[in-house]
């Protein structure tokens, strides 16, 4: 199984043991988010809505390129890809 790196935004890091980067085994963005939130129902709720769509306040970039809004994240991702999950930051 191929491995992907997920860059975790600070506000959801507590759900992944405080890690800013985690390695997951996945073929797609959706699988990567699923693997990342497998152990936390709360994190799953932050990432996906009740219909299983990726929440619109969660922005995802694969190797710096955006996953379009409204995508379910089913696009295949190449081995070793870096998936950046980006949430708004409020502070200033």
């Amino acid at each position: 199984m191929q491995q992907l790196t997920v860059i975790v935004p600070p506000s959801i890091r507590p759900y992944v043991g405080g890690q800013s980067r985690i390695t997951v085994e996945a073929q797609t963005v959706r699988e990567a988010l699923g693997a990342m939130s497998a152990k936390s129902a709360q994190l799953k709720e932050h990432l996906f809505d009740s219909k299983g769509e990726i929440n619109r306040f969660v922005r995802i970039f694969v190797n710096g390129r955006p996953v379009p809004l409204g995508s379910r994240g089913d696009e295949a991702v190449e081995n070793g890809a870096e998936i950046a999950v980006v949430l708004a930051l409020a502070g200033g």
Binding site: S11, S20, H46, V86, A88, L89, A90, G92
Partner: protein, 380 residues
């Protein structure tokens, strides 16, 4: 009348063009040199003309036209100085020089486009000397900065380096928008303020620091919290707005207002060791997204702790704020490759930057709607 004799000889022998022809040639890329003195060109000069005073012409023309074959057009107030200057350029070796008949007076009378250039005072030349030496800024760029009005939302962590560096750069007018008062816990990062001003309004503390730092910068103090009802009126006056606020609602308000006003917005935000920077100008020359294209839906409150709740490394707003100030100056000068359509993220702990591509959302109701004019929305 030796002068008259020489002039009529030059009139016969040199290549004469009308102001209309000069404008046509200029559009085709031929350089138009305005050889009048600085005091004259200060009141207006043909748009796009190169201004080299007659007394420096022989010394500086090679910077503009290194090649003696370069076609040149010379313009003065009417035509006397242009004739002598064209003659001199011929002698210097330039083979294709035209004098513009009627000069700037005829140019204006023909209704051709004119631009005004602010002249730098001796004190300004000294203060901004290091900018003047950079070709990308130079005297014209500095004059441009001195003519610009920039609104700064928030005079806190990000606002501190922003305000200092924008004032240092000679932005003509800085508008400071903040309704908070200074607290001791702000001083771990908000370098614009001082210990003896705790309890003061941040905008008045900021004004004291900036006045002392660069007294030439005009300051507009807006002791108010920006919202969807007041943003358009407050920001209407400015050329660019910088979002250094500390909450998401204000960020949406700044984005909507800047989109409606067609002014660029510089965005920055911070959290503990991490920061974001981007620039939004959906109806600017290169298009691109607005803040709502990036974050169409507001982050739930459970995921939105503020600096006061989660803390922030004191130097972090320094890093992010100075990148924001750089982007603002680049956009004002029209130089380089701005962060439009890109989100720069920074993690101080591993010192990593990510440059993420952010396209406009074709369905964005705020910046891409062609149905009817978008309106200001509540900051949600």
């Amino acid at each position: 009348m030796l002068r008259q004799e020489r002039l009529s000889r030059l009139r016969e022998s040199l290549s004469r063009i009308s102001v209309e022809e000069a404008r046509r040639k200029q559009k085709a890329g031929v350089k138009l040199i305005d050889i009048r003195d600085a005091e004259e060109t200060a009141k207006g000069s043909p748009v796009g003309a190169v201004r080299i005073s007659r007394s420096f012409l022989e010394l500086q023309i090679e910077n503009v036209a290194p090649d003696a074959d370069t076609e040149l057009m010379v313009l003065c107030a009417s035509d006397t100085r242009a004739l002598f200057a064209a003659d001199d350029l011929n002698r210097l070796g330039y083979s294709s020089v035209h004098w513009v008949d009627g000069g700037f007076q005829a140019w204006e009378a023909a209704g051709l486009p004119v631009e005004k250039h602010r002249q730098l005072s001796p004190a300004e030349k000294e203060r901004y000397a290091r900018h003047l030496s950079i070709p990308e800024v130079g005297a014209e760029g500095q004059a441009l900065l001195l003519s610009k009005k920039v609104a700064l939302v928030g005079a806190g962590g990000l606002g501190s380096p922003l305000a200092f560096y924008l004032a240092a750069a000679g932005i003509g007018t800085l508008g400071l928008i903040d309704s908070d008062r200074l607290e001791r816990s702000n001083l771990q990062r908000q370098i614009l303020h001082t210990d003896d001003r705790i309890g003061e309004l941040k905008v008045s503390s900021a004004a004291k620091s900036l006045q002392a730092f660069n007294p030439d910068v005009a300051l507009n103090l807006h002791e108010i919290r920006l919202n969807e009802n007041n943003a358009l009126e407050i920001l209407a006056d400015y050329d660019l707005v910088i979002d250094g606020s500390d909450n998401l609602a204000t960020r949406y308000v700044v984005s909507d207002a800047s989109t409606l006003l067609s002014i660029p917005m510089i965005y920055g935000a911070i959290f503990r060791f991490e920061g974001h920077v981007s620039a939004f100008w959906p109806n600017g020359p290169s298009g691109g997204p607005c803040y709502r294209c990036l974050f169409p839906e507001k982050l739930p409150a459970s995921l939105t702790p503020s600096c006061s709740e989660v803390g922030v490394l004191g130097v972090l707003p320094g890093v992010i704020g100075t990148i924001m100030a750089t982007e603002a100056i680049k956009i004002l000068l029209g130089i380089g490759d701005p962060l439009i359509g890109r989100l720069l993220t920074y993690n101080a702990l591993d010192c990593s930057f990510h440059d993420l591509e952010v396209p406009a959302n074709p369905h964005c109701e705020q910046c891409q709607s062609n149905r009817d004019l978008p309106r200001m929305r509540a900051g949600l």
